[in-house]
């Protein structure tokens, strides 16, 4: 077990390192000159040179990468070119808003998708409701869904404020967008998993015991059917916590996604890098947690871990 954990953590560190390296190199491929973005379009070459020297932009890429890596290991993600604040502070400030939105969205997609999946999974044929949800929600891109909700419930009906920011009922529409967006994926996975479990030989054993349908489903079907959901939810958790760019932008939600978008326009490399690093760390931690949780739920996976 200890050896398994050590291997997994080692692999996680390697993953994060690769993501950091790749993103860092990509920053230099993407067009845009941070010095120009900082100094403005009318800056003289001398000013630009000075800015570059200050930011160590003249050094070889690998030297810059080394500098970043050492800083990162000390918890220093650099200083924003534009906002002159430590990146770590900027992200920390926005984490609560992102967490609030991400967790609400995750809860909604789990509840909506899980309920629909279980309900549909108990019928032999795919229900019309699931078909409608599939066509209706899978084919609609997030941004149309976000705008539709904004238009209908924010603008026409005025049920929710649309002035941006957090607090009060402002969470409802962006969380609902995330929930509706994720719902069909969960519904389909849960349905397929329910059908598979219902057809399993051990479900037949439960029938042969003379148990009621409710007891069979509660004790033998649900727990076994819900295990793939754990994997999905864990990854979603990591992705949602590292910021949802589009939904945050549409609803003016001041989270990490919005910070990332702004940093992209500003060629604010440290902030961009910072958000990517945080996302990578979250995903690695989430996958590890999922695997450990799955071992708790499903004893079969424990054998390989020994």
């Amino acid at each position: 077990m200890a050896r398994y954990l050590a291997t997994r953590v080692g692999l996680g560190v390697l993953t994060i390192f690769s993501v950091v390296l790749l993103t860092f190199l990509l920053m230099f491929v993407v067009p845009g000159d941070p010095a120009r973005a900082i100094a403005g379009p009318r800056a003289t070459p001398q000013v630009l040179a000075l800015v570059r020297a200050n930011l160590h932009l003249n050094e070889p890429v690998m030297t810059q990468f080394w500098r970043y890596l050492v800083g990162m290991l000390h918890g220093d993600l650099g200083v924003s070119y534009i906002q002159n604040q430590p990146v770590a502070t900027l992200i920390a400030q926005r984490l609560p808003a992102t967490a609030e939105l991400g967790l609400s969205g995750l809860a909604l997609e789990l509840i909506l998708g899980g309920a629909l999946g279980v309900w549909d999974g108990l019928r032999p044929k795919r229900s019309r409701l699931l078909a409608v949800v599939n066509v209706g929600l899978l084919s609609v891109p997030t941004f149309s869904l976000a705008f539709l909700l904004l238009l209908a419930f924010g603008y026409e009906l005025s049920w929710f404020p649309i002035d941006g920011g957090t607090g009060g009922s402002r969470i409802v529409l962006p969380a609902l967008t995330l929930g509706l967006f994720g719902m069909p994926y969960y519904a389909n996975v849960v349905r397929d998993s329910m059908q598979e479990t219902l057809a399993a030989a051990y479900t037949r054993t439960a029938v042969a015991k003379g148990l009621s349908r409710g007891a069979i489903i509660r004790r033998h079907v649900l727990r076994n059917a819900l295990s793939p959901v754990l994997t999905m939810a864990g990854l979603d958790f990591a992705i949602l916590l590292s910021g949802v760019v589009f939904v945050e932008t549409v609803f003016g939600w001041p989270g990490i996604g919005q910070l990332q978008t702004q940093a992209f326009y500003d060629v604010d490399r440290p902030v961009l890098m910072g958000t990517v690093v945080v996302a990578a760390v979250l995903v690695v931690i989430a996958t590890l947690t999922i695997d450990l949780l799955r071992m708790l739920i499903d004893p079969r996976t424990r054998v390989q871990a020994r």
């Binding site: 399993a200 037949r204 042969a208 148990l211 076994n224 499903d298 004893p299 054998v303």
Partner: protein, 334 residues
């Protein structure tokens, strides 16, 4: 090997032993007619071996008798245990009968055990449900049952999940689940087929002893004629969805009347011949699946087939006490 005394099983028994009587059983999967009018009866406490190659319909009979046919299969005929016709039972009546009137033991115990629940919990579930035991009493009962089915360290085994148990132990756990319901009839569908010969012998001895103690009625499905000699009182030979020969085990082995039975009875010698590098003389061809030829289903593979065999189904004739056969050859001789 056995921890619990022989008395415990008999003391625990609350239901009267009852025999099984199946008549004119038909099973259809859509247009495929898997079982075409099968009748047999097993007196209480006796063991019937249902023998035949894969595809002859024996598993369909097992699932029909246990009322575990998959959705989409249709069942006709009657399956009587005591005063109850299982074939007609539905809803509450059927649920009450499951595990108590008839229990089913499948071939693949690995798949039949819930992979994420301990063996003890899956046995205890039946004890709680069927005997209304509390959590602790049921857990203790599960351990006692595991001991009864010959598991040496029942406390440890009770905590194990299917993948942590050996093949023989898994089958013993399935047997314990079946016994937990205190069934009148146990239908075992090739439960030892996947096991080593020595493990199989241990389980056969155990089942034989349990049948003697509890007066359970046992239907043992197998394609292995060697197992039949070990466990059965009577033998029913199935071919093409029909019972072609039925009789006491000695009769069947010593005077097989149907050519198919004759070939089956000679088949165990095959393994010895293989060791001696002699050529096989297996039954040529394979059994028909779903679509049956007119007449006797075996006539396409039968070395002694007559003209009549391809035209009409032979009648079932009684050739000795309790020994019945459906073959035109027998009819001619008589």
């Amino acid at each position: 090997m056995i921890a619990a005394g022989a008395g415990t099983t008999a003391d625990r028994r609350r239901t009267q032993p009852a025999g099984l009587s199946v008549s004119d059983l038909h099973v259809r999967y859509g247009s495929s007619h898997a079982v075409r009018g099968v009748s047999f009866s097993v007196p209480a406490g006796r063991t019937l071996a249902l023998v035949g190659e894969s595809g002859c319909g024996k598993t369909s009979v097992a699932l029909a008798v246990s009322r575990l046919l998959p959705a989409g299969a249709t069942l006709e005929g009657s399956v009587r245990v005591g005063g109850l016709d299982l074939a007609c039972a539905a809803g509450r009546e059927l649920r009450d009968a499951r595990g108590r009137v008839v229990a089913y033991m499948p071939q693949d115990a690995m798949a039949a055990l819930n992979p994420v629940q301990s063996a003890g919990r899956q046995i205890a579930e039946v004890l709680r449900h069927r005997r209304g035991l509390g959590r602790r009493a049921a857990a203790a009962g599960a351990v006692a049952l595991l001991a009864q089915v010959g598991i040496r360290d029942p406390h440890t085994a009770a905590r194990r999940c299917a993948h942590e148990l050996s093949g023989g132990m898994r089958q013993r756990v399935m047997l314990a689940i079946a016994l937990a319901g205190d069934p009148q009839v146990l239908v075992a569908d090739e439960p030892t087929t996947a096991l080593d010969v020595t493990v199989q012998a241990g389980i056969l001895a155990l089942v034989r002893r349990l049948v003697a103690e509890t007066h359970m009625t046992l239907v043992w499905i197998t394609h292995d004629i060697g197992v039949v000699a070990e466990i059965a009182d009577d033998v029913a030979v199935m071919y093409g969805g029909l019972i072609v020969e039925h009789g006491p085990v000695r009769e069947i082995f010593e005077r097989p009347a149907h050519p198919y039975t004759g070939a089956l009875v000679r088949s165990p010698r095959l393994s010895r011949r293989a060791a001696a590098k002699e050529p096989f003389d297996a039954i040529p061809g394979s059994p028909p699946l779903g679509e049956f030829p007119p007449g006797c289903p075996f006539h396409t593979r039968c070395a002694h087939a007559l003209a009549a065999c391809a035209e009409r189904m032979p009648e079932t004739l009684q050739i000795a006490d309790g020994h019945r056969v459906a073959c035109h050859l027998t009819g001619q001789r008589a």
